[in-house]
Amino acid sequence: MGLQAYLTLAAVVFCIGLFGVVTRRNTIGILLGIELMLNSVNINLVAFARFSGDVTGMIFTVFTICITVVEAALGLAIVILLFRIRRTVMADHLDLLKG
């Protein structure tokens, strides 16, 4: 399989993630979508590293995974706090940014 297949996979995963972020009403669902989008990037990085024979992309991916974990932990913490204060985790009720 060539590079294109991996890139296509990454694009598909990214779009699924984006779709999830845009459409899910539950904040946790949105976080899941973000994870998918990040992982599609990881796929890209690994695929490029593999096909160009350069390990830099793979090392970078390790960092990304770490950061993703931290991000997920922070995101969930925010969601819990949000739930405590607003008694909801539905995204369309959270419109404090409204102009």
Binding site: L18, V22, R24, I30, A91, K98, G99
Partner: protein, 637 residues
């Protein structure tokens, strides 16, 4: 070319400027009152000496110019300032300096009861006025002339409104300012148009153009008419004469200086200065003559029914200005100028005499006077001299100048205006002697003599009591009166001996007055005096029945021929309606456009802000769609 007459004239002007500047800047001096007055009088005396020297030093028909560059533009000079000393300007300068000086001396006595700070203010205004008026007189170009002309108008406003806490005075000041401003607008337009036509503001250069025939005559009529409008406003010609009688709200010395002797003659002087220009437009001159004669008649009729001594004199001034204008319109400006000079002397005398009476009686109303001859013999004599001068009786100042004007108008072939002026001569003698008989002779003064004119009632509610016995004025007021009286007689005698050869003015086209003119003019004046004597002294003719004989005219005159009402209606209806229209346009159309634009911005912003749902997902959606659009755009372009 610098000559002594120019330098003297300049000194005369600058002395008054010095007095004004010192009084304006050194405010402790101004607030001290009397010292300020003495300083101003000192400068005025110096100025009079300088003006006399300038007049003496002026030789023959030479014209000396003294100009400095001002407003340089594009390598050449747009305008200059300086002095143009010729026969006319030095003579006029002397008159202004003389009257200004005497009035300042007189004011020390007349305004002795004023608080010190306002006396200082008065003298500051007086000095500024004298400076500006002299600036008009010596102006070598129209720009300087116009600036000083406006300054003169400003001083008139300030001095009429000197007692600004009196509502009538404040109103009269504003009225005078606006009415003259109406004419000044025309004047300014005329100057600018003339500049476009001739390319210069300078009087001498312009005259050279005119003499060489280089000035195109086409369109000149409009220019001269516009300039004439300025003179109409300043010299109180019909229909802009309405401000002058109201201007009598100012202190009497101010009326003498500004509204009789000098400022109001500025219009006549302007036309005299530009007579060579006006000579090119005979049509405009004809208008000048007719309006002048009509103004003279109108004002003379109005003067006959006034009971306020100052208003009689004010209308008389308007009437005499009409005389001068008629002479200029007939093409003999020098005759008008001659009358201007003599009139300046004896009208100042009359006003100052009236001031002495008002000072003594504490009232302007003729009905409150009477029999003053016994109480105030000096004032009576000088007032009588002034009256005889104004009536045009031989041996007195106004006699020859009036003959000159009548002769000039006859020689100019203007039969209509001539007839009007003869009638005015009769009325002048009548109304002036009416004042003399009512105020100085006849029944004793006081409320008991009120109602001698019968049919229209005055509120005699002058709160000032009449226990105070009138007496002749103090020396500071009497001295100017006597000087002016002696001058009036001296002028009359001088010209009687020397003949009517005028000691100024370049070769004016001579005219031959017909032999019957002088006797008939004197007879007409004598008839006027006789009528006044019979009516108000002997009372063989009942004043009431005389009034009844002229019923409609008298009623109309009492209403000032509705001219003031007309102006008020014009102001109240037309001008205010127009202002409201403009206001409406401004409010609803000009502002409307702005308001609609702002309202539209506001509502569209209001609508657009709903895009900001505050939901993070919507933003992400927007970013995603935006990204896709951007990609497509990059791709396709």
């Amino acid at each position: 070319m610098m000559t002594s007459d120019g330098m003297f004239a300049l000194a005369a002007v600058l002395l008054h400027a010095l007095a004004f500047l010192v009084l304006a800047i050194v405010f402790p001096l101004r607030r001290m009152g009397r010292p300020a007055a003495y300083f101003s009088v000192l400068c005025a005396v110096g100025s009079l000496a300088a003006a006399l020297l300038a007049w003496q030093a002026h030789a023959g028909e030479t014209v000396s110019r003294l100009v400095w560059t001002w407003l340089p533009s594009g390598g050449q000079t747009l305008a200059t300032v300086g002095v143009l000393a010729d026969a006319e300007s030095t003579a006029m300068l002397t008159l202004v300096a003389l009257v200004a000086c005497l009035v300042q001396v007189y004011s020390i006595g007349y305004l002795s009861e004023e608080p010190a700070p306002s006396l200082g203010r008065y003298y500051a205004y007086q000095s500024l006025f004298a400076f500006s008026m002299m600036g008009v007189v010596i102006a070598p170009n129209l720009v300087q002339l116009f600036i000083c002309w406006e300054l003169v108008g400003l001083c008139s406003y300030l001095l009429i409104g000197y007692w600004y806490y009196k509502p009538e005075a404040a109103r009269a000041a504003v009225k005078a300012f606006w009415t003259t401003k109406l004419g000044d607008t025309g004047f300014l337009i005329g100057i600018v148009l003339l500049w476009r036509l001739s390319g210069t503001f300078d009087l001498t250069e312009m005259r050279v153009l005119v003499d060489s025939g280089a000035l195109p005559v086409a369109g000149l009529s409009i220019i001269t008419f516009c300039i004439y409008l300025g003179a109409v406003g300043k010299s109180a010609q019909f229909p802009l004469h309405v401000w002058l009688p109201d201007a009598m709200e100012g202190p009497t010395p101010v009326s003498a200086l500004i509204h009789a002797a000098t400022m109001v003659t500025a219009g006549v002087y302007l036309l005299l200065r530009l007579e060579w220009l006006f000579a090119l437009t005979p049509g405009v001159l004809l208008i000048v003559a007719w309006i002048g004669a009509f103004t003279a008649l109108l004002a003379a009729v109005l003067a006959c029914v006034q009971d306020d001594i100052k208003r009689v004199l004010a209308y008389s001034t308007v009437s005499q200005l009409g005389y001068m204008m008629t002479a200029i319109g007939a093409g003999f400006a020098t005759a008008g100028f001659f009358h201007l000079l003599t009139h300046g002397v004896f009208k100042a005398l009359l006003f100052l005499g009236a001031g002495a009476v008002i000072h003594a009686v504490h009232s302007n109303d003729l009905q409150h006077m009477g029999g003053l001859a016994r109480r105030m013999p000096q004032t009576t004599i000088v007032f009588l001299v002034g009256t005889l001068s104004l009536a045009g009786i031989p041996l007195f100042g106004g006699f020859l100048s009036k003959e000159e004007i009548l002769g000039a108008v006859w020689a100019g072939g203007l039969v209509g205006p001539f007839a009007l002026l003869m009638l005015v001569a009769f009325l002048t003698a009548f109304y002036m002697f009416r004042v003399v008989f009512l105020a100085f002779f006849g029944a004793s003064w006081g409320p008991a003599s009120a109602g001698s004119e019968g049919d229209h009632s005055h509120d005699a509610g002058d709160s000032r009591d009449h226990r105070h016995v009138p007496h002749d004025p103090p020396i500071s007021m009497a001295l100017p009166l006597w000087i002016l009286a002696l001058l009036s007689v001296a002028i009359g005698l001088y010209f009687l001996i020397a003949g009517p050869a005028l000691p100024f003015g370049p070769g004016e086209p001579e005219f031959e007055a017909p032999g019957w003119l002088m006797p008939s003019a004197v007879a007409v004046a004598a008839a006027g005096i006789l009528l006044a004597w019979l009516t108000y002294q002997q009372r063989t003719i009942d004043a009431a029945s005389l009034a009844a004989a002229f019923g409609p005219i008298r009623d109309a005159a009492l209403r000032k021929f509705w001219i003031d009402d007309l102006f008020e209606a014009l102001y109240g209806r037309v001008l205010l309606a127009f202002s409201r229209l403009i206001g409406w346009i401004d409010r609803y159309i000009v502002d409307g456009v702005v308001n609609v634009a702002s309202a539209w911005t506001l509502t569209s912003g209001d609508d657009l802000r709903t895009m900001q749902s505050g939901r993070a997902q919507d933003y992400v959606y927007g970013v995603a769609v935006g990204l896709v659009v951007l990609l497509l755009w990059v791709r396709l372009s």
